[in-house]
Symmetry: C2
Subunit: 330 residues, 2 copies
């Protein structure tokens, strides 16, 4: 009998997963190609996902959508997750495996423990599907190929369930990467949410200051780039920041510590030189590393090319490029 | 008799000024086209500037280079400025006008007051010549055309001297913009040095943390962009930060305040929503404004196009683009 997989939430992540799972080579899984059921709160989103073949069938009733599922993938926003888990809990069949895709794991695991019946397995999941600015690639089968896929089991999760999810992740050619929930949330906070928080704080500091009128006149691309993340989708940004607030808070403490250290360093040319060197080397090594590898994973071809240097004096002042013709913008 | 202008320091700013001043339309100035003398500590830099026609003549002896000058433009780094002013002071002719090009004005004005004879005029200058990443444009005549050119006189500077410098700035088609030294340094700190300081603090916070190995594996383009300024030329960065340390220190205090506020905001969905909205609107308005205008200066064509939104979820995680082929790099 074929494996029934239900995807709840057909945004970019849910759709990409549906496309990837629906094109699994039948030889890759013991059970052959799974059957994908899709559900979304929004009828039109569901229809579009069906049209893109991201699911074999769609089902608008949440309870019916999960009733026969062997695997349920909850791919809704952090803000909707608690309610979703509570809603599906009574309808899940015994032995079903539930996993999610949000960027925060500690609260999700807490909710799963609290809300899901003990007859059901839960494994937190977080596929790292970002593709820089190529938004189009965000919802394709390729969004997952080669991507790191974080897996965070509960202490009570059984080996067999873990093996099942790992087999699916491997079958879509993503790379399983086991982590502890608090570790995961902390690393994700540092990698993604701290930069966003910082862009907001910087925009607030200069943009709400009395000198903003003058500052914006002389500021160049540097300030523009350092505040870029503050221009992103506000709903997505809010969901991400609220969802991982505890871990972000710890990093903000550490960052404030670094800024206070920096205030001292600005009075000490030797220490400043050392800081500049240290930052540059750390970032260069990162840039030279092969992207998309789990720690410890490596490829054979060494990669010691030069790293591009930003033109600092060019980025400091004025002369930001005129906005391109509005007709060329989306 | 032609106006003698001596440019001390033939880096990008000095060279751009030489090219711009050397191609002034003779009708633009009462005195006709000025005669440009160039000096640099480095013989080969001097030779190259001469080859690029950035000066009519070069003179390797600093005292001889300034002796006949009506206007001396000190275009060396902040770190060399004090010594340079001390060295030229005894050789300046009565009534000579001295100006500089560094991004910090308060300490420079202090040194000018302390070191230059009372028979000489001093006006701080700061041309905003940045051109984003197009480093090539940094040393061309066009680097100054249309650029804001900050002018910071001493209290004792005479009107005639100010008019003379303003005439030169106007003749090279830059836009004179009068500011107070402390205002200037504060705005410059916010526009250029605070973003750099922040990139360094962020790189230090995450790069020196115990989790860096894991963080760099999952981090996407967002963190990469937010630390980009930390990869710039270390000597230039150090010179900029040390030169404006006092003003940067004040902004770091304010930024730390914003970060502490943000820690509270992360627990308050309504306040977070308001912050996200405020940041976005402030930055959008800035992006929609015409670049390179002094505050108050405006153009007639309204400019209400859409602003490009970064793809946040795409920037958060993994999948940074593989580094391009090393052969394609510079």
């Amino acid at each position: 009998m074929a494996l029934n997989i239900t995807i709840l939430g057909l945004g970019p992540v849910g759709t990409s997963l549906g496309l990837a799972l629906g094109t699994i080579d039948a030889q890759m899984l013991d059970v052959g190609r799974p059957v994908i059921t899709g559900w979304d709160r929004d009828q039109s989103v569901m229809k579009e996902a069906r049209g893109r073949l991201a699911a074999d069938r769609v089902e608008g009733n949440l309870q019916r959508a999960v009733r026969e599922a062997d695997v349920v993938i909850a791919a809704v926003d952090y803000g909707e997750m608690r309610e979703l888990l509570a809603s599906i809990a009574p309808s899940l069949k015994n032995g079903a495996i539930v996993t999610d895709t949000t960027a925060t794991k500690a609260p999700i695991l807490e909710w799963a423990t609290e809300l899901l019946p003990i007859t059901v397995e839960f494994i937190g999941g977080h596929p790292l599907t970002g593709f820089g600015d190529d938004a189009g690639l965000g919802t394709s089968r390729d969004a997952l190929r080669g991507a790191i896929y974080c897996l965070v089991p509960l202490p009570r999760t059984r080996r067999a369930a873990l093996d099942g999810v790992e087999a699916l992740v491997t079958a879509i050619e993503a790379k399983p990467y086991y982590m502890d929930a608090f570790e995961h949330d902390s690393y994700v906070a540092a990698a993604a949410h701290l930069p966003l928080a910082l862009a907001l704080a910087l925009m607030e500091t200069v943009g709400q200051s009395g000198g903003w009128r003058e500052i914006q006149a002389i500021a160049g691309e540097g300030l523009l780039r350092m505040t870029e993340l503050a221009s992103g989708d506000a709903a997505l940004a809010g969901d991400a920041l609220l969802g991982n607030a505890a871990a972000i808070d710890g990093w903000l403490d550490r960052l404030i510590g670094s800024l206070i250290d920096l205030q001292k360093t600005l009075r000490d040319p030797g220490a400043l030189e050392a800081l500049l060197e240290r930052s540059r080397v750390t970032r260069d090594d990162w840039l030279r590393s092969e992207p998309n590898l789990r720690p410890g994973e490596s490829t054979f071809h060494g990669n010691l090319q030069d790293v591009e240097r930003p033109n600092l004096s060019g980025l400091f002042f004025g002369r930001r490029r005129p906005s391109p013709n509005p007709k060329k913008r989306r």
